[in-house]
Symmetry: C2
């Protein structure tokens, strides 16, 4: 049980944030943000698995290892990826400048960047931006910090909830960005979550990993896992709940809400997928294992032929079965069934008689649910993806370096 609250990323006690226009983005829009906990917080993070991981990821990993942090500094407009020694030095400088201004250890500052790859940061602008952001730290009622992490996003993605742990009110909030280069294992996606819950770093790490596995790791826009991305949560304990130090009832309750936050933000990213006109929920059931269910869902979610068919509002189930077939998951053509919306389209491998008008209505909707029952076991997985439109090609063909 939780209730939605106002206040954005600074809704939990003891958090301040600000977003400013530092001139890194050519558009002049907000591009530097600082998120700050007035007391040191437990921290956990999950980063990109890309071997070309950007410099800020390397810097943040150190903070994640210590389990304690109190600030996040982030810029958009430049990913500081594939930038070598200079990039690493710049990412460290971002942490150092923020730390000095806030009088905290450099190791307590997380760094994140998003934007164009292969270009070094304009450090003069970045430095001025960090100074301005720190000077403006406060409740961030205008949500400028969310604006400052956006790239091709068309809307801000945030949520804030209040719930109870042992009768004590606890708050959690999250912001995220991402709309292209989105795929499991942290694509060009940033998610920053704040909470005033008291929880030990090791348990926070476990809770975040579990939450990410069923949220950010289950979305795909274009199959590209990026160089920069991370999901992180700061838990500063100011709610005053009994600190979670074992996998008790409170841990379960906290993990559940954290998962809700991650799923909400992950879905928002897919809804804002570059050029997306459809939001697709893929539910694979009856798999021999979770791994098989996920592989199957992912093959469907990545298939350009499936995605263009949904764009064309065509229930081309042959393309879906074809993707199932090359997913490398165990599958039997005589046992597979498929439904779109409430309509059974395929039953045990064969096309079922369908109400064409009803199907047309379902395919015309924005939100479409596809269920693939492999008919082999009990495991299942849910993924979210979007369609491939002219607009996706336009955005990515015209987004020049």
């Amino acid at each position: 049980m939780y209730t939605e609250i106002k206040g954005g990323i600074t809704a939990p006690k003891g958090f301040k944030a600000a977003g400013v226009q530092a001139g890194i983005k050519k558009s002049g829009k907000h591009d530097v943000a600082v998120i700050y906990s007035t007391v040191p917080a437990s921290v956990a993070g999950v980063c990109t698995t890309n071997t070309m991981a950007a410099a800020p990821v390397a810097v943040s990993r150190l903070a994640f290892e210590s389990g304690i942090a109190s600030a996040i500094v982030v810029n958009s407009g430049c990913a500081n990826a594939c930038t070598g020694e200079q990039g690493l030095s710049d990412a460290n400088a971002m942490a150092q400048i923020t730390a000095d201004l806030l009088s905290i250890p450099k190791e307590d500052v997380l760094v994140a960047s998003t934007g164009i790859i292969g270009v070094t940061l304009p450090m003069e602008k970045v430095t001025a931006g960090i100074k301005a952001a720190v000077a403006q730290l406060g409740p961030d009622e205008q949500d400028y910090s969310t604006l400052a992490i956006m790239t091709t996003d068309t809307f801000q993605k945030h949520c804030a909830y209040e719930f109870e742990l042992g009768g004590v009110p606890v708050r959690i909030a999250g912001i995220a960005k991402g709309s292209g280069m989105i795929h499991p294992n942290m694509a060009t996606m940033l998610a920053f979550i704040t909470t005033d819950a008291a929880i030990a770093p090791a348990l926070l790490k476990q809770a975040l990993t579990d939450a990410v596995n069923v949220s950010f790791n289950m979305i795909s826009v274009d199959g590209d896992t990026s160089t920069n991305d991370m999901a992180t949560v700061l838990a500063n304990g100011l709610a005053g709940n009994k600190k979670i130090e074992t996998k008790n009832e409170d841990y379960a309750a906290f993990t559940k809400i954290l998962t809700e936050v991650c799923i909400y933000l992950a879905k928002q990213i897919v809804v804002d997928g570059e050029g997306a006109t459809k939001f697709l929920e893929l539910n694979v059931t009856g798999a021999a294992s979770f791994a098989d269910a996920k592989k199957t869902a992912m093959a469907i979610a990545k298939s350009p032929l499936v995605k263009t068919a949904f764009f064309g509002e065509d229930a081309n189930w042959g393309r879906i079965l074809c993707a199932v077939g090359y997913s490398e998951a165990a599958a039997d053509p005589t046992k597979i069934s498929l439904s779109i919306g409430d309509l059974t389209i395929v039953k045990q491998g064969l096309g079922a008689p369908i109400d064409e008008l009803e199907l047309k209505k379902i395919m015309a909707e924005h939100d479409i649910r596809v269920v693939v029952d492999l008919g082999l076991g009990q495991a299942e997985a849910t993924m979210w993806t979007c369609d491939f439109s002219y607009e996706y090609v336009k955005i990515n063909g015209e987004y020049h370096t």
Copy 2:
């Protein structure tokens, strides 16, 4: 050494072919073909790895196992995939009808289909088509057999060469189709190769497997491996060369030419990739292993972000490095180099100073070569792919079932 010759798929001695309009395609275009060797031939085939493999694939596999065949019957307009018992019975009927008309054993007939998945064959039309095609068997100077295997292809793909084995002139010819659902491990791709070389089935199988691994398995249009596809070669021995029964010099010479045929046809498929405006050759060098080189090339070839960037004529090397990073191949950001055309773009992980005008000229060309040097070892791989355009979305969004 070989010379190009005329005569298409029937250029090698003892082969006849025909393509007819059987009315399976709504367009009324050619849709049934028969290719026939007047004497039993050695046969080898490589089929889709898709677990939803279509009925004709199951039937052809039996012929491949025996190593001997004398005819291929193929239709376009309907893939006979995901059609259950009825589909298998129809594919067997196609073989039986062809066998009866040609007075050969049913087991000597290969069956192939391409087109829409999930619909059963209109067997009355198919039967009439096979009868008409067999009646018209001859030199197929008009290349109707090539027309009859096309779906969304915009041009015919064929080649015919003459070369020598031990001083004896030998001929080889191939036709292929495919432009969407194209990815390694046999995508919606059919390739039929005829030769009058004399070669034992086991060696023919080895030669074809090696040839396919560096040709059809190294192309990607959209990452979708289809349910139906196969590459097959019939070798009837009528050239009169000393039969190849060991891995001798003749075997090497034959494999080399067979590989040339497969690479030529594979490249033609990419050139005709749905909506393609660019032909990209990806050459990955310096990899720790061939598997790593191939993984790297494939990740780049599949990336919608890379493909849309080439469509937009933008040398967005960050997206290429990003794809390298998530390819799961060993890679080191400080050792990787990249060139496009003759220009070095990235040197040891860092953007190199480039002549922007020269780069713009290269990106504006139709054929573009990208070399990624991982700087780790000696292995390399070459793949061919195309860009992602508005037209790809249009073709696949509007190709209704």
